[in-house]
Amino acid sequence: MRLLIVDDSSIMRRIIEKNLKDYDIQIIGMAPDGQTALQLVKEHMPDVITLDITMPGMDGLACLDEIMAVHPKAKVMIITALSDKLTGLRALDKGARGFLYKPVNAVDLAKAFDRLLKRNENKQGRV
């Protein structure tokens, strides 16, 4: 499983990186903003992407649109401090598969990834 982390806060990126060590996940890159993220998506076509909403330049939702346009199979998990539910729902509308509120701890992160990956299995099993 190849993962791209998109977050403007380096601390956040480090937390994600650290807490996902136990998973069979290869972090293929970390992007501080939307443009970089898009570049990396086009280059590596990662399986999973964690995406912040509030970022400088292109914001998360716009970035999500772009990502889904070039790589619709990507499983995108929104990780945001924005507690606005409408924004979260819009992200789901645009194709996000997971959602997490900041602050994020290890347990939250593990649960969210379990869900994201298990859902994948279920989907295959069900079809």
Partner: protein, 876 residues
């Protein structure tokens, strides 16, 4: 045809049997009639024969009388007088016999047909008298006599012919005809006799008489031939036997004489008469014989027919009765069985399966009934199974459905289902109406239902949210994190009063196979708990703010704070005044001004370390930042004003707090120590709680200060640092995890106790103790060796006391990484240094597995005794 098919079985039987019976009866009737006719025929024939025989007798005698009368007249009344008299008596007796026969027999049948003939014959017989008179008077010539008598005989013979000439039996008819021919021949013979008698009397025969004589003989022979042709063998034999002998030959010879015509005188007319009479008597014998035979034959036939007739009738009746009896039994049985089956099927069709059909016969219907019973058994079995199922369903309905209804009626939560069109289910819990103050729930679109209750943004989110809920590809937990009405404020109307409510709405998917068919929605009214929570939160916040205010005030020079607060209040007011006076509409300018002013105030607060104020001003800045990005209106300034007002209120509170603290300072010149002590203990207690939580250990903090001792202000910082270090060590290393503690027979919650006492004047003793596992000498040695504080050799010779001392050595602490709890690798070495920095001494005590204790002694100057009992706060 169809009409025939559709007839009931009864009628079908009738259709088949009735024509059959009619045909049989008709046939029977014909047969009976035939037999009866045979019988009546033969009976009548017999009677007519008898009558005929009597007539024949009369004819025979009349023939004789005719001949005698002719003889009498021809001789002019001289001869044949006596014979004629005698003959007339015989004739009369035979006629009387005829009359007698006519009366005696039951001859209705005969009369009905032959009345006219018999009446004619009777009148002829009566005419005999007048003929006789005229004969007596000799008024008639022989030919006239012949004619008269022959007429009577003709009529008589004709009558006989009529009487007997009607039978259906061919043989008898033939023999009757034979007899009639015979009789005719005999009549001719008799006339021949009369003519012959006359001729011989006259001894001459004229041509006329001769020709009639010859005609008579010819006719006689012709009739005789006809008789012989059709007569049966026996009659033929009788005739052949009787008609022979002398007399018959003499008649032949005398005929020849007549034919010759020349020798007429040589023959006595009496001789002719006698011979012919003898011959006629023979003929009469033949006739009687035939008549008798016919009579006996008809008698036989009559008896046979009679017997046949009755036998047939009796047999017919017996067979008919038996046939009808059998038919009725079979048909009745068949119909009865069919009727039973019919009734049975009718009963089954009405649902009564309790009885079985009972048809004992072994025919197809019986078999059918047996099969039917088997079928009914099967039906009853299936029926029972169905009934069981139905009872089960009923049970389920009664017990589960009703229970759920009862639950729905009484549960305090609102519960309903959403379908994929977001329509609310017809069944919903009664509480829904109470919570929403709305009766129209069933079938409503949930978004429409919520539209008047929540803000448009939430509504938009709700619609989006429900769509995702029904999306099978989306994880339920992920979607539920974004529930926009998880906790939402609604305005509902109850009895005309508008109420604000806080409700919690939860959504649960209901799957059927791979599809989400419904969403179960639960709504709970949390108004009371939310209000309480808010109340508590606000109270808590206020308390916290107050504490922080106190803390900040205590840390900072009061005059600095006072100055800052005064300045800040004025500045805030200046902002409002600026707003009031602004008339040029430069809103952005005002916003910038406000931001700068607040930013400055924040800077000042930071400088003097008044965190609470700097935080507040930061919030105001945030509110302004938010406005900066968009088009602003006058109304937007309300938010800023609100924040400014809030900040102003905090300033007021701090001012009043400051006054209160100043009062304390004024009241107790050294009171500063007391306040600091209170805060110190508060800090330590909080440290125990926080560190315990982080290490996932539950630890209670105890503070004992029976002497109401007060730490001097100058020692407080050191004391706090030492204590915090000890607390970290105890929780990290000393106090065991819960299960270990329970296993060792200790209380599950760990305990840390700090005790102050005063062993002597000018001395303060602090006793720190935890109830953890104590120290492990061997482990300490190992670690010291590992950290190069000690060689292995030294370690073996080291006393326990010295070994304990190792933990205070620099570099003993093993924590590699910097972490909040364990410190920075300084550990107990830091404790030692700190205590020594304020000229204190310390002593370590422990019992392995039981406790760790550190006794610190500090030199103090002045009064450390608090004057009043004000530090109860520290006792927790």
């Amino acid at each position: 045809m169809r009409i025939l098919y559709d007839l009931p079985i009864r009628i079908k039987f009738a259709v088949v049997l009735v024509p059959l019976i009619v045909i049989i009866i008709c046939f029977d009737y014909l047969q009976i009639k035939h037999n009866y006719l045979d019988y009546s025929d033969s009976q009548r024939l017999n009677q007519t024969l008898q009558l005929g025989v009597e007539i024949n007798h009369a004819v025979h005698e009349l023939q004789k009388e005719r001949s005698i009368s002719i003889g009498f007249v021809s001789n002019d009344g001289y001869s044949f007088v006596e014979e004629m008299e005698h003959q007339r008596q015989v004739t009369d007796s035979t006629i009387r016999a005829f009359y007698k026969e006519l009366e005696s027999s039951d001859l209705d049948g005969v009369f009905s047909i032959h009345m006219d003939d018999i009446e004619l014959l009777k009148s002829q017989f009566q005419s005999i008298k007048s003929i006789r008179n005229r004969v007596d008077q000799l008024a008639l010539d022989p030919l006239q006599i012949l004619e008269y008598y022959s007429d009577i005989n003709d009529v008589a013979l004709n009558t006989v012919d009529m009487l007997i000439n009607e039978t259906r039996d061919k043989d008898i008819a033939q023999q009757v005809h034979a007899l009639i021919y015979f009789l005719k021949s005999k009549e001719r013979a008799s006339i021949e006799r009369a003519i012959g008698t006359q001729a011989f009397s006259h001894e001459v025969i004229d041509d006329e008489l001769y020709s009639s004589f010859a005609a008579l003989v010819a006719e006689q022979d012709a009739y005789l031939d006809a008789f012989l042709v059709i007569a049966d063998q026996e009659s033929f034999n009788v005739y052949s036997r009787l008609m022979s002998g002398h007399d018959v030959g003499e008649v032949e010879r005398l005929r020849e004489v007549v034919h010759d015509r020349n020798e007429m005188g040589e023959v006595d007319p009496a001789y002719w008469y006698d011979m012919t009479t003898s011959k006629i008597n023979l003929l009469k014998q033949v006739e009687d014989h035939i008549s008798d035979r016919l009579l006996s034959h008809t008698e036989y036939l009559y008896v046979t027919a009679f017997r046949k007739f009755w036998t047939f009738i009796v047999l017919d009746i017996i067979i008919g009765v038996i046939a009808v009896w059998l038919m009725s039994i079979i048909v009745t049985n068949l119909l009865a069985n069919v009727k039973i089956l019919e009734n049975f099927t009718l009963r089954i069709s009405k649902g009564d399966l309790s009885k079985k059909v009972n048809i004992p016969t072994k025919d197809e219907i019986g078999q059918y009934a047996k099969t039917f019973n088997v079928m009914v058994d099967e039906i009853v079995k299936s029926h029972n199974i169905l009934r069981k199922e139905r009872d089960k369903a009923k049970f389920l309905y009664n017990n589960i459905y009703r229970v759920s209804l009862v639950v729905f009626q009484n549960i305090h939560q609102g519960i309903f289902l959403l379908d994929r069109n977001f329509k609310m289910s017809k069944l919903y819990s009664k509480s829904m109406e109470k919570i929403f103050g709305e009766q129209k729930i069933a079938g409503e679109n949930f978004a429409n239902f919520m539209r008047p209750l929540i803000i448009p943004r939430d509504l938009e989110a709700l619609e989006m949210f429900m769509r995702h809920l029904f999306n099978e590809d989306m994880d339920e937990d992920v979607v539920n994190q974004l529930n926009p009405i998880e906790q939402v404020k609604i305005y509902s109307e109850n009895d005309g009063v508008v109420t604000t409510k806080y409700i919690r709405v939860n959504f649960t998917r209901i799957w059927r196979r791979d599809r989400i068919t419904n969403i179960m929605v639960t709504v709970s009214d949390e108004t009371e708990s939310v209000l309480l929570q808010k109340h508590l939160e606000e109270a808590e916040k206020k308390k916290k703010q107050e504490t922080e205010q106190v803390l900040s005030i205590l840390k900072i020079d009061p005059s600095l704070i006072r100055g800052f607060l005064y300045n800040a209040k004025r500045t805030l007011r200046s902002i409002s005044e600026k707003y009031e006076s602004s008339k040029d509409g430069d809103l952005r300018g005002l916003l910038d001004f406000t931001f700068e002013t607040i930013h400055n105030l924040k800077g000042n607060a930071v400088v003097i370390g008044l965190d609470i104020m700097s935080q507040k001003f930061h919030e105001v800045e945030d509110a302004i930042e938010e406005l900066k990005t968009k088009e602003i209106t006058g109304k937007d300034f309300l938010t800023i004003l609100y924040e400014i007002d809030d900040a102003d209120k905090i300033i007021d509170e701090m001012s009043s707090m400051l006054r209160k603290v100043a009062d304390i300072y004024r009241k107790y010149p050294s009171g500063g120590h007391v306040v600091s002590n209170i805060m110190l203990i508060d800090t330590l207690e909080r440290s125990v709680k926080v560190i315990g939580e982080k290490m996932d250990k539950q630890v209670d903090f105890f503070f004992k200060n029976e002497g109401n001792l007060v730490l001097p202000n100058e020692h407080i910082d050191v004391f706090r640092d030492v204590m915090i270090q000890l607390i970290r060590n105890s929780i990290k290393h000393g106090i065991e995890p819960k299960d270990q503690r329970v296993a060792a027979g200790k209380l599950a919650r760990g305990g840390i106790t700090i005790e102050l006492d005063q062993p002597a004047e000018g001395q303060l003793r602090v006793i720190y103790k935890d109830d953890g596992r104590g120290l492990d000498i061997e482990k300490i040695k190992d670690r010291a060796i590992m950290n190069n504080l000690l060689t292995e050799y030294d370690a073996e010779n080291l006393t326990d006391e010295d070994a304990v001392g190792l933990i205070y050595e620099k570099g003993f602490s093993t924590s590699q990484e910097v972490d909040e709890i364990a410190g920075r690798g300084q550990g107990m070495n830091l404790v030692k240094n700190l205590i020594e920095s304020i000229k204190g001494t310390f002593k370590t005590e422990f019992e392995s597995g039981k406790y760790f204790r550190l006794i610190i002694e500090l030199p103090v100057s002045g009064n450390i005794q608090d004057q009043e009992e004000t530090n109860e706060v520290a006792n927790s």
